[in-house]
């Protein structure tokens, strides 16, 4: 019956040639390149903002509030763009079928890019909805959702067209994207009560990265490792399924750890603590896979540096620190301190960001031989990114612990506490500068690679 319906409405798609990237895969290149560019922009804004915290009289071209809003929005938007591109690439790679329309992937990128640039310009001019991470004014939120839905529609038609209804990896990725769009919906409209407002916000801020998009990210990562033959395909497929089940089971309920003190009933503390403990299991599973993969003889692609960085920050920042912060008696004393900021940097960039950088780098470099100088500079940039993040998050942890002690034990008022935190915040800014250097070097290197690629292809066509 289903087969009859599929034959009637969807003509089977074209098979892809294994030795070359297909048009759908090539359409994901701009997504991958934009990731590096936006990261460089974000790190520039963030370093400026962190300096402004310590030297508030420093003249700046845009207001601190605008810069912070741009930084936060970028922290969600470029990983989203990156994971969209990576999902397209790996779905085609592993199903062997083209997506419904590569043209839509291409045009969708330009549409989303223009929307994001206008959104950032609007934030820079001070137009804000005043909701952390979701400051973008209403029209831009709608525009983003429309672009995202077109992307999902393309995936859905591809699933029908290529008979992928029983293909677990594709269905997991599709459900992850669909869930992300559903979680975004309640955030389109204004909400009066701050408790409801914050709860809706965390559906995106927490559940995108540790739920819906994590489903996509872990699937993409497993397929990436299988492509590199670091992990056997069968094991990767088993890992994808178990990861997905555990992420789903724990991810949604673990977002309760954001709801302890914002005006919801006490039982959320129990749910949040229990689910956050379960959330450690998929992290351990990924860690074990990463550790086992170290014995593989195929550890020769430089993109793996990003993968192992991601696993490290996932274990330390999401697993260890996230688990501790989710314990209600501890959370009571650290909620609303810089410790939360340390966790979000390690989770959003450390785990998710590095993973997206890795898959994006792989997509852009897989088919080309890379020079020794290029590899050296990319290695350096990964070292700088990791060192910068370690300095930033380390100093933020110290700042948060001291802030909690000064406020809740010593009983100092806010102004005195904040003045005593300045040396640590300055250290955070220094970490930001190191991170920024890495981000710029990486972006520059990827643009140079892109230009070399364009020149190479132009010469080949002549």
């Amino acid at each position: 019956m289903l087969e009859f319906f599929l034959k009637l409405f969807f003509k089977k798609g074209n098979k892809k040639d294994k030795d070359h990237d297909s048009p759908s895969q090539k359409a994901s290149y701009p997504y991958a390149l934009s990731v590096f560019t936006f990261l460089a922009l974000q790190s520039f804004l963030a370093t400026g903002g962190s300096l402004h915290l310590v030297f508030p009289d420093l003249p700046t071209p845009i207001a601190f509030t605008s810069g912070r809003a741009m930084h936060l929005n970028l922290s969600l938007l470029w990983p989203l763009l990156g994971i969209m591109g990576s999902a397209c690439y790996f779905i085609v790679e592993f199903t062997g079928n083209e997506l419904y329309t590569p043209k839509l992937i291409k045009w969708n990128f330009w549409y989303l890019l223009i929307t994001i640039l206008l959104l950032l310009a609007s934030l820079a001019l001070g137009h804000t909805e005043g909701r952390e991470y979701l400051e973008a004014p209403f029209p831009f939120k709608v525009a983003l959702l429309v672009g995202f839905l077109f992307f999902i529609l393309n995936l859905l038609i591809s699933i029908f067209k290529n008979r992928l209804l029983y293909h677990p990896e594709t269905i997991i990725m599709f459900s992850g994207f669909l869930l992300a769009s559903l979680l975004y919906l309640p955030n389109l409209f204004p909400v009066l009560h701050p408790t409801v407002d914050d709860t809706f916000r965390f559906l995106v801020v927490h559940l995108w990265e540790e739920g819906s998009l994590e489903l996509v990210a872990t699937t993409v990562a497993s397929l990436w490792l299988a492509t590199l033959k670091v992990v056997p395909l069968n094991r990767a497929k088993r890992l994808i399924l178990w990861e997905a089940i555990l992420v789903l089971f724990s991810g949604a309920l673990a977002s309760a750890h954001h709801l302890y003190w914002i005006g919801l009933p006490r039982f959320w503390q129990l749910i949040g603590a229990a689910a956050s403990a379960i959330q450690v299991i998929p992290i351990v599973l990924l860690g074990i896979t990463a550790f086992r993969s170290l014995y593989s003889s195929n550890l020769n692609h430089i993109s793996l540096y990003f993968f192992y960085s991601s696993v490290f920050w996932n274990i330390v920042g999401v697993g260890l620190l996230g688990f501790l912060l989710a314990l209600p008696p501890l959370n009571f004393y650290v909620h609303g301190t810089y410790l939360t900021s340390a966790h979000s940097h390690m989770a959003l960039f450390g785990f998710f960001g590095f993973l997206v950088l890795g898959t994006s780098y792989f997509i852009l470099t897989r088919r080309y031989s890379l020079s020794a100088a290029h590899k050296k500079r990319v290695k350096l940039s990964v070292i700088l990114l990791n060192s910068g993040l370690a300095i930033m998050s380390g100093s933020l942890i110290l700042t948060g612990l001291l802030q909690s002690y000064l406020c809740y034990v010593a009983g100092l008022n806010f102004t005195r506490t904040h003045l005593l935190l300045h040396p640590y915040l300055l250290l955070r800014a220094a970490g930001g500068a190191v991170f920024g250097a890495g981000a710029f070097l990486l972006a520059l290197e990827m643009w140079l690679h892109f230009f070399r690629l364009v020149i190479f292809q132009t010469l080949q066509h002549r």
């Binding site: 915290l53 508030p56 009289d57 601190f64 509030t65 605008s66 809003a69 804000t128 909805e129 005043g130 909701r131 952390e132 400051e135 029983y166 677990p168 269905i171 459900s175 909400v191 009066l192 009560h193 701050p194 408790t195 409801v196 914050d198 709860t199 916000r201 399924l241 997905a244 089940i245 789903l248 089971f249 991810g251 949604a252 309920l253 977002s255 954001h258 302890y260 003190w261 914002i262 005006g263 919801l264 006490r266 959320w268 009571f332 004393y333 909620h335 609303g336 301190t337 802030q403 406020c407 809740y408 034990v409 010593a410 009983g411 100092l412 806010f414 005195r416 904040h418 003045l419 300045h422």
Partner: protein, 135 residues
């Protein structure tokens, strides 16, 4: 095929396990009615991007302090004076807090008064010691 079924059932169950208690927890809050002035205050709070520097219910920017219970520690007059004629903020030598007109300031204070009624289960913690260093 079987494993895909397990995945889809987990998806459904986890959404129900999270969504249903959340719905019943949020329902009474969603139906609350707030005075016009407090509603206008929330709008101003958002338009001015106050969350970038201040936290509310512990969420937001850490450079300006948490304002969940600010109306319990400062009088209305003190808050009005601060918001309409803002002082220089240490450690800055020039930078001042943004200024609001009196009507806007009253609305924001009304919003913050409503926020202070939210039950945060005792958060933020009361300081163990009352420091004399503040004086």
């Amino acid at each position: 095929m079987q494993s895909l079924g397990v995945y889809l059932i987990t998806l459904l169950v986890s959404l129900l396990l999270f969504g249903l208690p959340l719905f019943y927890s949020l329902k009474p809050l969603y139906e609350e009615t707030w005075p016009e002035e407090a509603m206008a205050g929330k709008k101003i709070w958002q338009e001015k991007g106050c969350i970038e520097c201040h936290t509310l219910l512990g969420n937001g920017g850490y450079s300006g302090g948490d304002l969940t219970f600010v109306t319990a520690t400062k009088t209305k007059e003190e808050l009005l004076a601060f918001l309409t004629s803002p002082p220089v903020l240490p450690p800055a030598k020039q930078l001042r807090h943004i200024a609001l007109d009196p009507e806007q300031a009253k609305s924001v204070i009304s919003f913050l008064e409503k926020v202070s009624e939210i039950d945060t289960h005792g958060w933020p913690p009361k300081p163990v010691r009352n420091s004399s260093a503040q004086k």
